[in-house]
């Protein structure tokens, strides 16, 4: 039943059309019948009154001169109206004077006395009385009795209505058939396609467009939505596939440095190892660790991008500084691949408002890519100049180049060109995505060009220039190093014993006095006898966690002036905010470079 009710829109429209037609017809017929009954009564009684008047005038002389025969002759003219059953003439004294009976009508008693002027309806008969007046003097009364059959007319009407009804419904059916073709059929087609799409998950299906009206628009819109849904499903599949690849790549990349590190540790343990071997092993460990740190940094950036929390700290500086930083960082890699590296920097400053470190990271990334995706012994060009009022950096190479499709989606997350190379070259495929986001945050653009595979590629970064002088470069590192010898009291709190001990060793070697605690309570015990200038606190610690520890240290007068530094694996903006609220002055993300800690101690 439910199914039958729901089945189809065409059934509903059919019902609508038929009910509308039928009710309109019935209403108008009812109105007509009522109107006709009223007008029939008015017309018929008016007619009879007129007949009575004519009879009255005609029979007045007969009544005047007391002539029964003539009176009856006069009355008999009413025979022309077959509806009149009987008529009579009364004298002024109320005596029956003359009568007329319709042929075949059974003799009936006439009213004994005439009544007042007017008519009344008795069942299927109507009776009219009318005075006969001559020269202002009443002579008598005319009486007419006639058939009154409105129901005959109603029956006629009903018969006609029946015929009209059948004809109208038939016509409605025809109209509906036409509607069905023009309106419901396309909608039903859309419904059918929608059902098939849901069942088969096939977004390539399309509804057929039959007309250019609103229904045609509906069909177009429906097809458009199908296309869009198909695109999105495809995009989701693609993103999913890239993420899977990314995870595979990530596992691979994170595992890569571990074997060399273990080998290096073995070498260092070997008593026979020479000083030279030690040096090589340490160098190797350093390189592999840097690589891992870079990977993890990339991962954090991926997280920031996907959660939309990537931010930059802006200040006005000379963009050439960031370029020089990047060159310095990448040059060892470029040299290792024996590329010819040509650099051309503008002679004048390129002041931009931005994050020097982040912009350096972007340029470095582009240079790294150029070196990576160019066979050893290739050429790399870097230029930074003022073009069309913008700071423009071009990184060009003679490498493998890009095909058109690659140019289109090379900035998407996890996309890497040429898997075979990727396997050989480290990377997670997030560098260009990050680059585009960072440049976007600076109000600039980064675009890729290539004349095709094997013809090299060019990446162009454009950033808005700031009018006015760039700030003088930050204080050189040497000055910090100059102060680094000042001995400080330092508290380290971390439940990672290896990390805490190794860091303590490094700091003690620089001449500082260091205490180590492995949980929050121990740290609080330490500060009772030891007033640290700096406290490097882990956040996730047993017993008393870092935030709580920081609050307590801030409350104590002896540690209120201590510089609190959070050292944690959690680098999100949220974590930084909580750290600030707990009273931390700085926030370092693991793994921490000992040099960074040293510079903080030197600055403080």
């Amino acid at each position: 039943m439910l199914r039958r009710l729901r089945t189809s829109i065409s059934r509903k429209i059919m019902l609508l059309v038929l009910v509308t037609t039928a009710s309109a017809l019935l209403l108008s017929a009812a109105g007509l019948v009522v109107y006709d009954l009223r007008s029939y009564e008015r017309q018929w009684t008016g007619d009879l009154n007129l007949q009575a008047e004519i009879l009255a005038r005609a029979s007045a002389p007969a009544l005047s001169f007391d002539d029964h025969q003539t009176a009856e002759k006069d009355l008999s003219i009413i025979r022309a109206r077959p509806e009149v059953l009987a008529a009579a003439l009364y004298t002024d004294e109320g005596r029956l004077f003359a009568t007329y009976l319709e042929e075949g009508e059974r003799p009936q008693t006439f009213p004994e006395h005439p009544e007042a002027d007017g008519y009344h309806i008795l069942g299927d008969e109507v009776v009219v009385f009318r005075r006969v007046v001559e020269r202002g003097e009443p002579l008598g009364t005319i009486y007419i009795r006639a058939r009154y059959l409105p129901w005959d007319r109603v029956l006629d009407y009903l018969a006609i209505l029946g015929v009209v009804m059948v004809a109208s419904l038939a016509l409605s059916g025809l109209v509906f058939g036409w509607l069905q073709r023009g309106v419901t059929a396309p909608i039903l087609d859309v419904a059918r396609v929608a059902r098939e799409v849901m069942q088969r998950r096939d977004y390539s299906l399309r509804a057929r467009k039959a007309s250019d009206d609103e229904i045609g628009e509906l069909v177009d819109a429906f097809n458009g939505m199908l296309a869009e849904a198909g695109r999105r499903a495809e995009a989701l599949r693609e993103a999913d596939r890239r993420k899977d690849e990314f995870l595979a790549t990530l596992a691979h990349e994170l595992r890569n440095p571990l074997a060399p590190l273990r080998n290096a540790v073995e070498i260092l343990r070997t008593p026979q190892a020479t000083e030279q071997m030690h040096e090589r092993a340490l160098g190797m460990m350093d390189r592999q660790l840097r690589q891992m740190v870079r990977l993890v940094d990339d991962l954090l950036d991926v997280s920031r991008i996907t959660t939309g929390k990537l931010t930059v700290r802006k200040s006005v500086f000379d963009l050439r500084e960031a370029v020089r930083d990047a060159i310095e960082t990448v040059r060892p890699f470029v040299d290792s691949r024996e590329h010819v590296f040509e650099v051309s920097l503008a002679e004048d400053a390129l002041p931009v408002d931005g994050d020097r470190a982040r912009l350096g990271q972007v340029i470095g990334n582009l240079l790294h890519n150029a070196a990576k995706y160019t066979e050893p012994g290739g050429r790399i060009w870097l230029s930074a100049a003022r073009e069309d009022g913008e700071a423009t950096i071009r990184v060009r190479d003679s490498g493998i180049g890009l095909d058109e499709r690659s140019i289109a989606d090379i900035f998407d997350m996890f996309v890497q060109v040429d898997r075979s190379l990727t396997r050989a070259q480290a990377g997670l495929g997030v560098g260009l995505t990050l680059a585009r986001r960072l440049i976007g945050l600076h109000g600039g653009t980064v675009t890729a060009y290539s004349e095709g595979l094997g013809h090299g590629s060019e990446f162009i970064v454009r950033l808005p220039l700031v009018e006015g002088e760039a700030k003088p470069p930050e204080a050189p590192a040497q000055e910090a190093e100059g102060r680094s010898d000042r001995p400080r009291r330092i508290l380290l709190a971390d439940d990672n014993v290896d990390f805490a001990r190794s860091l303590a060793e490094v700091l003690e070697r620089h001449g500082h006095e260091v205490r180590v605690a492995y949980d929050g309570e121990a740290a609080l015990r330490e500060v009772e006898s030891f007033r640290p200038d700096f406290a490097f606190l882990d956040i996730g610690m047993p017993k008393v966690h870092g935030y709580e520890l920081a609050r307590r240290l801030r409350e104590r007068p002896e540690t209120a002036g201590c510089v609190l530094v959070a050292v944690t694996g959690w680098g999100q903006e949220d974590d930084r905010r909580r750290a600030r609220e707990a009273g931390f002055a700085r926030h370092l993300v693991k793994p921490v470079d000992p040099a960074e800690i040293e510079s903080i101690v030197a600055e403080g």
């Binding site: 005038r57 005609a58 007045a60 002389p61 007969a62 005047s64 001169f65 007391d66 002539d67 003539t70 006069d74 001559e134 020269r135």
Partner: protein, 180 residues
């Protein structure tokens, strides 16, 4: 003696019978005739030049029939014809007829002199004798089966300039016209 008494008795009986008839009959008949006389006036066009003025009365003259005259005198007060008040007037042969619109000449025998005088004066003459129309009257009462009817001579009416409505003619027992 016996022979003398029989005619007397017969005469007496006849007298009583006729007296009884006279007593019952003439009252009804005369008042019907009086009513008819008045009613005729409504179906006849009266030449306006016969009236002395707008306020002049409509005079119905009655000759030879006091009962009709009496009935008419009871009937007409307060009635009018075409705006003229109706007046009944008893007349004797030889009386002047000026101003008389309708003249009733009673009697079973036609008073031809009176009829002629009425016609000459321009009045419409009504009689009640079998030869009335032939004697020159326009309307003549006929009584059959105790029922009062009338006959009309259109020629006579036309001679005095009167037009009688066809509605009245439809009730007439006989209508006489030239050539018929």
């Amino acid at each position: 003696m016996r022979h003398r008494a029989v005619p007397f008795l017969a005469a007496l009986l006849l007298f009583v019978a006729s007296a009884l008839a006279q007593a019952a009959e003439p009252v009804a008949e005369s008042s019907v005739k009086a009513a008819f006389l008045y009613k005729f006036s409504g179906y006849i066009d009266w030449p306006p030049e016969r009236f002395a003025g707008a306020q002049a009365p409509f005079v119905i003259g009655v000759m030879h029939d006091d009962e009709v005259a009496a009935a008419l005198e009871r009937l007409v007060p307060g009635r009018s014809v075409a705006g003229h008040p109706v007046v009944a007037r008893r007349l004797e042969p030889g009386d002047p007829l000026s101003g008389v619109q309708l003249l009733f000449v009673g009697g079973r025998e036609a008073d031809r002199a009176a009829i002629r005088a009425g016609q000459q004066s321009g009045a419409l003459v009504v009689t009640e004798c079998p030869e009335g129309l032939e004697a020159g009257s326009a309307i003549n009462f006929v009584v059959a089966d105790d029922h009062v009817g009338f006959e009309v001579s259109l020629d006579a009416a036309q001679r005095t300039g009167h037009h009688i409505s066809s509605r009245m003619l439809s009730v007439a027992k006989r209508v006489v016209q030239k050539g018929t």
